[in-house]
Symmetry: none
Subunit: 200 residues, 4 copies
DNA sequence: TATGAATGAGACTTCATTCAT
DNA sequence: CATGAATGAAGTCTCATTCAT
C-alpha cells in the first residue's frame, strides 16, 4: 500500500534491464519466434513467471527492445559528430555480431525488420528509428563544413541520405552473411564511394 | 509397383511447385515460424499430410525455396544483360512486395537472411545465392563494353560489386519499410550514384 | 479438397458428442474452471489437442453444453404433456445427480447459473433456456383442461408460472444438498402445494 | 515474544474482517476460481503475502465466508421474528445483487452451492447453514400465533418449511437471472402462495 | 507486522508430424 | 496418391504460495 520507493523502482528497472539483455541475446540467437520465454528466463537467471511481472507479454519485450535500440541510437547521434563515416562503417563492421551496444546488432536489425512486416506496432517503432537516422544524416549533410557537416544543398541532401542509409543497411545485412569479409577491401570500397556521395 | 515414369515425375515436380508457391506466399505473409503447415496446405489447395510426401519437413521447404530462388536468379542472369542497372532497380522497387517472380521478394529476403543466421543449411544456400550474384556482377563490370560490360579492371571490380550488392540489398530492405517511397527521388539518387560506381 | 462427406461429418458429430459428454461429466464433477481440458480429454479418451479440432476453445464447450441442454429441454417439452407435475418432480428428484439426460443435472444448473453471472454469452443462452421453460409453463397453465392444461386465466398464469419455476429450481438446488431427502415427505409437500398453484 | 494481548487479537480480527469483505466482493464478481489472491489483496488494500498470515490458504477463506454468513444468519434470526415473510422476500429481491449484508448475496449463494458440490468442508458448512434456516422456519411455523408463529402442527411443519426454503432459494437463483423482474407481479405471486404454505 | 519479489506447477492452446483409411 | 484425424511436445501465460527484507 505504500508508494513505490526509489529503491524498489531501481530494482524493477534493473530487472527489466536484465530481462531485456537476456531477451536480446536470445532473439539474436534464435529469432523472435524461435526464442521462448523459458529461454529468456534461463538466460536471465530467473523463472519464466517472473518475466510477466515486468512485461505484459512477449511482444511487449520485443517492443521494449526496439525502443531501447532507438534510445541508444539517439544518444549515439547526440554524442557523435561522425566526421569519418566510411571509417566508422569499417570499424563497426562485424562488431555488431556480438551483442555490444554500439550500433544495432545486424541480426537483430534483420529480425526487427522482418517482424515489422507483420506487427504494426513494431513497424511504427522502426519507422521512428528510421526517421531519426534519416534526419541525422540530412542534418549532417546540409550543415556547413565549419560545424562538421558537408554543406550539401537542401535539394539533394535527402536523396544522398537515402543512398547512405541503403548502403549502411545493406552493409549491416552483409555483416550477417560475411562477417569475415576482408576489411581492406571494404575500407577501400567505402573510401571510394562515401566521399562521392557526401561531397557536393 | 511400377517404376516411376516421366509422367509421374512430372506430376511430382508440379506438386512440389504448387507447394513452394503456397509456402512462399505464406512465408512472406507470416514469416517462417508464423506460417503453419496447415496454412501452406490450405493455400496450396491440398491436405497437410500430402506435403510430407514431397518434403521431409518444414525446413526442407525453406531450403527448397532458397534453392528455387537461386535457380530463378541464374536463369535471370543468363537471359538478362542488365544494361541499365539503376533503371531496373527503380523499376523493380516496390514490385517485389507482391509475390512476383522478378527479383526476390523483399520480405522473403529478410526472412531468409534472418533464418540463415541460425540454420547453417539455409546459410549455405544463401551463400551460394550470394556468390552467384557477386560473380555475375563482377563479370558484368569487367567484361568489355563491346559485350555489354563496363571494362573495369579486375583489381577494383570486386569491391565495386560489393558496393552494388550492398546498395541493392539495402534498397530491398528499404522496400519493406517505405514501399511508397518517391520514385522520382529514388531514380535521381540512383542515376547519380550507380554510374559513379560502375564507371572506371 | 473434396467436400466433407456425410461419413466424415458423422464422425465429427460423434466426436463432438464424445467431447461434450466428457466435458459435462467433468464440469459436474469439478466445475467449469476446476475441470481442465486435459481432464476432459482424458475422460473422453483422446488427446487434449484433438479437442481443439472440434471446439475453438474451452468456453465454446461450455456454450455448447448449455445449448445442448436447451435442445434436450425443447424436445422434452414437445414430447411431454406433463400431466402430473408434482409427481414428476418427485420422480426426478435426486436422479439428475447422475449425468442422465432427463432434466438438467442439478450441479450443472448451478455451474451454468454461476457462470451466467459473469459471461454474457452464457447468460444469453441461459435466458433463452429460461424463456423456453416459462413459455411452456404458461402454455400449460392456460391451455384448456380438455387438452391437458389447467385453464388458468391469462392474467394470473405468468405469476403462477414464475412460482412454479422458482419452486422447481429451488428443488434442483436442494437436490445438490440433500440428495437423500425423504421422498415421502417431498411427495407430500409437493402434492399439497402444486395443486394450489395450478388450480384456478 | 509477547503474549497476544486483547488489542492484537482485536486487530487480527479486524484484519480478517477486511480480508473477508474483500474476498466476498471478489468472489461475487469473479467466482471462487476467477478471483485471485492478488485481486482480493488489492481490494482489501493490503499485500498478497499478508493474507496468508490470517488464512492458511484460499479455500480457508471460502470456508470462513460461509461461516461468517452463518453467523450473520443466526444473528438475523435472533433479532428478527419475520412476521411478513412474503413482504420481506419482495423487499429483498434484487437487493442482494449489491454486496450488502442482509440475506446472502444471490451470486454468492450460487458460488457456495456449486463449491459445496465438490468440497466436503464447504458442503458441511453449508449443511449447517441450511439446517439453521430450516430449524428457524419450523420453529416459526409451529410456534403459537400469540408469539408471532403460525401454530402449524409439528407433523406438517417440516414439509412446509421445505417448500418455503425451496421457494426462497429458487427466488434467490432467479434474482441472478432477472434482477429487473416486475416487483408488482412478484409481490402478487408471493402474497398468493406464501399464506397457502404457512396457514394450516 | 507487512511487503511484494520470486517460484513452480499447471492451465490453455498451437502445430509439426504421423498414419489409418 | 491423398486425406485429415490424431498425437505429443512445446509455448505462452496465470496464480497460489513462500520468503527475504
Amino acid at each position: 500500500m505504500s508508494e513505490p520507493t526509489d529503491k524498489t523502482q531501481d530494482r524493477a528497472e534493473k530487472q527489466r534491464g536484465r530481462i531485456l539483455d537476456a531477451a536480446q541475446q536470445c532473439f539474436i540467437e534464435h529469432g523472435f519466434h524461435g526464442a521462448s520465454i523459458a529461454n529468456i528466463a534461463e538466460t536471465a537467471g530467473m523463472s519464466a513467471g517472473l518475466i510477466y511481472r515486468y512485461f505484459e507479454n512477449k511482444s511487449a519485450i520485443i517492443l521494449a527492445i526496439v525502443d531501447r535500440q532507438l534510445q541508444l541510437l539517439r544518444e549515439d547521434i547526440r554524442l557523435n559528430r561522425r566526421v569519418d563515416l566510411a571509417g566508422e562503417m569499417v570499424q563497426n563492421y562485424g562488431r555488431s555480431c556480438t551483442a555490444d551496444a554500439r550500433g544495432m546488432n545486424a541480426a537483430l536489425l534483420l529480425e526487427i525488420s522482418a517482424e515489422a512486416t507483420r506487427d504494426p506496432q513494431v513497424a511504427a517503432a522502426l519507422d521512428h528509428y528510421d526517421a531519426t537516422v534519416r534526419a541525422a544524416l540530412v542534418d549532417w549533410l546540409t550543415r556547413g563544413t565549419a560545424s562538421g557537416g558537408h554543406g550539401l544543398p537542401a535539394a539533394v541532401a535527402p536523396e544522398r541520405a537515402l543512398l547512405l542509409q541503403c548502403l549502411f543497411e545493406g552493409l549491416k545485412l552483409r555483416e550477417t552473411r560475411e562477417p569475415q569479409l576482408d576489411r581492406q577491401m571494404l575500407a577501400s570500397a567505402l573510401r571510394y564511394i562515401v566521399p562521392l556521395v557526401i561531397e557536393p
